[in-house]
Structure formats: structure tokens, C-alpha cells
Amino acid sequence: MKKLAIPTMILAFCCGMMTSALAQDSKAAAAQAPAAQPPQETVCFESRKGASEVTKRDLKPGWPNVKCSPKTGAALWYGDPYDGTVPMGKMPGLEKIPEGHAVIKPRTEKLALMPMCGVSCHNGVGPQFSPPTLPKGKKPVPLPTMEAMVPDLKDLQHGRGRIWCMDCHHTTKRNMLVDHFGDPVSFDQPQLLCGKCHGDKLRDWRDGIHGKRIGNFTSTGKKRWFTCTECHNPHNVQDGARNRGFVQLQPEASPQLPRGMKDASHEKLHPIAH
């Protein structure tokens, strides 16, 4: 009996080792959350809150056009980067890009006041001076009506008091912006206006260094370009006293704490005790 004890143990050990090795994945964990489909449609914001948005829909089963963050409501993933886009139109310096390969998401549809501006109040009338700069000796007078409609105007943070409405908005066509020659520019192409002053940024934007583009990455591929105002608030570019070009956002969830760590309070301590 005793003679057999050790060989048996060895045999048992070998078998045990083999069983463990062969039993790979036998306990396939099926911890899967039930699908919770919200009945209402999901709309998430893209770059900054209050600018462009995208509505979630399925392109094919299990393949949506966009995925939104349940925590912040921001767009987290694009299935279709060209969702709701139109060709950008003529843009100097981008002649090399094949026709239709530069697309943008029209801003005009999102701006609620846009259709009214051109007809209700400013029906082709405006200050009759050309060029549309404020005459010497005159100061812009804040209009309570305008401020009520666009609260950012109360404290216009663009240009530090050295520019006024008509430097950007067309004097007679209020649903348009204005370029250097007094010609109207569409709200969908704010870069033609912003580049008037921010030439270096325009150049970087044109080359893809500044700003954001999604879609094909090759230089001749089809891309959706994010225009200036999709990321920057034109009336408050510096985000008030923060003096940064981008507004604050709620961040997404922080990473999981590794096993055994109770919290991350140690991160706020100096590494070396004193």
C-alpha cells in the first residue's frame, strides 16, 4: 500500500497539471449586462456643448453612427464620420483636395435665430457706412434686445474691446458674416472671416495642424472638417477670465483602481514624506 503511495501522488499530480492546462476557458464568464434601450433618441454633443450635435441611429444592426458617453453626453465614437455633412465650398489654399472630399456640418441649421435675423429686424437695412467700421468718435451702444437673445454679448470677450459686431457680421445681411472686402460669408464658413485676423491659425487649420478633422486620414481622402465655431465660442473665445481658447468640459470617468488600492488619495501627496 505504502509502496503505491508516492507513484500515485506523482500520477495524480501529472493528471492534475494536464487537467488544468486543458481546462482553458471552461468557466467562460458570461457577465453581460442586459441591453437597456432607451426609448427616446440619444443626441450627443460633439466638440463643445452648445455647438454641433449628432443623433444616434443604427447604420446596420449593432453598428451605430455614433456612441455617446452616458456620463457626459459627449460623442465618444464615430461609426459614420460624414453624418449630416455638406461640401465645404470654395476655400483658398485647398484647391488640391478633390471635389467633395472636404465636407462640413452646416452650422446654419443649428442657429435658432438665423432665419429671423435676415427678415424680422434687419431686413436688409443696417448702418449705411462703408467700409463697415464704426465711425470715429462713436462708441458701440449695447442693445438690450440683442443681449437678451445672445447672453454672451453682455460681456463680449473677443478682441478685448477693440472690435465690434459689424467687424464680423455683415451690415445689411445679418444672417451672413463679412470678409475683408465687405462681401458676405456664410455661417458655415467662419474660417474665411476668422482668418482675417488669425492668419497663422488659419494656415495651421488648412494643413490639419490646428483644429479637428475626421474621416480618411490620407491627405487626399474625404474628411469632415470642424470649422472654427464648432470648437470656439466666437463671442467668448477666451472663456472669460480663464483665458483659454476652449471652454471647460466635464471629464469622462477616471481609470479603475488596481487590485488592492482603496483610493487614489496617495496621488495628491508629495512622493517624499517630510
Binding site: Q24, S26, T218, E267
Partner: protein, 315 residues
Amino acid sequence: MSSLMGAAALMVQSDDAAAATEWAEHFQKNYRLMTDAEKAEARARLERRYSSEYGKKVAVDTTEAQPGVLMGYALNIRKCIGCRRCVHACVEENNQSRGTRPGEKIEWIQVLRMERGEFSKDKMNHGYPEGLGIQVGGNAYTPAGQVLEGQYHYNPEAVPEKDATYMPIACMQCEKPPCVKVCPVRTTYREADGPVVIDYNWCIGCKMCMNACPYWARRFNLTKPVLPKEEMNPVTHYLGNRPRMRGVVEKCHWCLQRTRHDRYPACVEVCPVGARKFGNLLDPESEVSKILERKNVFRLKAELNTFPKFFYFYD
């Protein structure tokens, strides 16, 4: 005897097709040594298994590196606001494990928050700095603060915070990757168009690459990845985001399933401030080439001679 029983139990537990597939997967070759026919077979096998497992049509792409393409990445360190959208976009795209138990959640991108610190008159004699940032204080004998250590678990109401800068870190896709050198089975290697990839089916989980990586880019599947059916991304690549198995290492591969088809990586598309740039380094007109030409660029831990194709720059 017991091993036979184990094998029998394995066969009985799962349905025959899946078990047979897994069985065949056990004996397949290293991806790079497979013939085209074997690759097609492995691909069909995986597509069948994933499709039944996740209840949708899953495509496993095997597109090779395209000639004339060398992928490169650039990140504008001054623009990053630390919102972590890239981290989560990456998870949505690349089918990482999303469990709740410690170790079940895998993220490939880390965003490091670094305190700016301050130089101020009243703190000149403090010796040790109070925060974590770049501060004055200390002398030749007592340490004066460290700048590389920051916070990974920051969670304020809104970012960017006033006193912080942010530094996202993920795989640098080195030209001379230390992880490739240490792999005993050559399952991780640099693809011809740049990214360093892993054949998950050949990985033995020895974790040597995790020791070798100076950027902590590699993650280990401590358990079978928790990937809910409805969140699974069905557009996959064999060397990219196809669902992994327990016990293997995974890492960023610059969204091979996208970039091999001329699409930006998921993190680039989702960055709200456009800090992330991606392009073909061999094309002088690409975004990344323009950045290398025009901006001040640095590589992380350049002294290690890993030659990353991930560049940090600032305006």
C-alpha cells in the same frame, strides 16, 4: 484518466462548433508564418466563433500593410484638456474588457494630470514643495519636488483645471521597440506600415514585454475579457481589435482595422480640441509631416533610443 475527463468535460460544456473552433485555434501557427490559405481559414474560423458568441455579424479583417504608408502620430501637448474622451473612444472601438472587478477593466490610453506648481516669493524658503508641481524650494541637500509624477485618477467637475496640464500616454509604436526584442515567441512585431502588433493566439502571456515597455503601454488580460454583446464592435482586424482571450497581452495598434482602410484612429476622431493628429509620415502633405516640419516636436523618453513614431508637439 483525469486529463481525459477534463478534455471530455470541455467538449461537452460548450457547443460542438465552438469547441472544435477553439480546438483548432490551439494548434494554429504564428500569424506571420501562415500561408494565405491558412490565414483565410483562421479568419473564417474566428468570424464564425465571434459571430455566434456576440450575436451579430463580426468581420475579421486581414488587410496587409499598404506600400508607401508609414503611420505617424502627433499630439499637441498644449491643447490637451484632460477630458479622457480618447480613453473611452479607444475602449468603444477596440473591444477592451469592461468589467467591474479590479483588473477587469482595460484602458490603453492613460491621461496624466500634472500640476503646474508655482514660483512665488513667500514659498522660496519652504524647502519641500507643498504640491506636486514644478516649484522652488529645497537646496543641494534636500529634494525639491518631482515633476514626472502626476495623477491618473483626477476627477474634477470640469477640465481643464486652472493649475494643471495633461499628458496622454499610450503605445508609442517605437521604430526600435524593446517589447519586440524580448518576446520569446515573436508574437509581437512591427508591421511594415509602422504599428507594433500582437498575434493574440500565439502570445503565451509571459509578460516580458510588459517589463520592457518604457511607456507602460501594454495591458494584461487577467481574466476572460468582459465584453457585453451590444457594446462589441463587429468591425475588427486580426492583429487589431478582435476580442482577446484570457491570459494574453494587448496594446494600442493605432486602430489597424480603421487605419488600414484610410480612416483616422478612434481617439483622433473624438478629441474635442483636435490635439491628436495622425497621418502618413511618407506623405509630405500629411498632417503629421506638416507638424514635424513646422512645430517644436519631442519624443517621450528619447534617451532610451526607442524612436517612437508618436510625437508630442506644442504651438
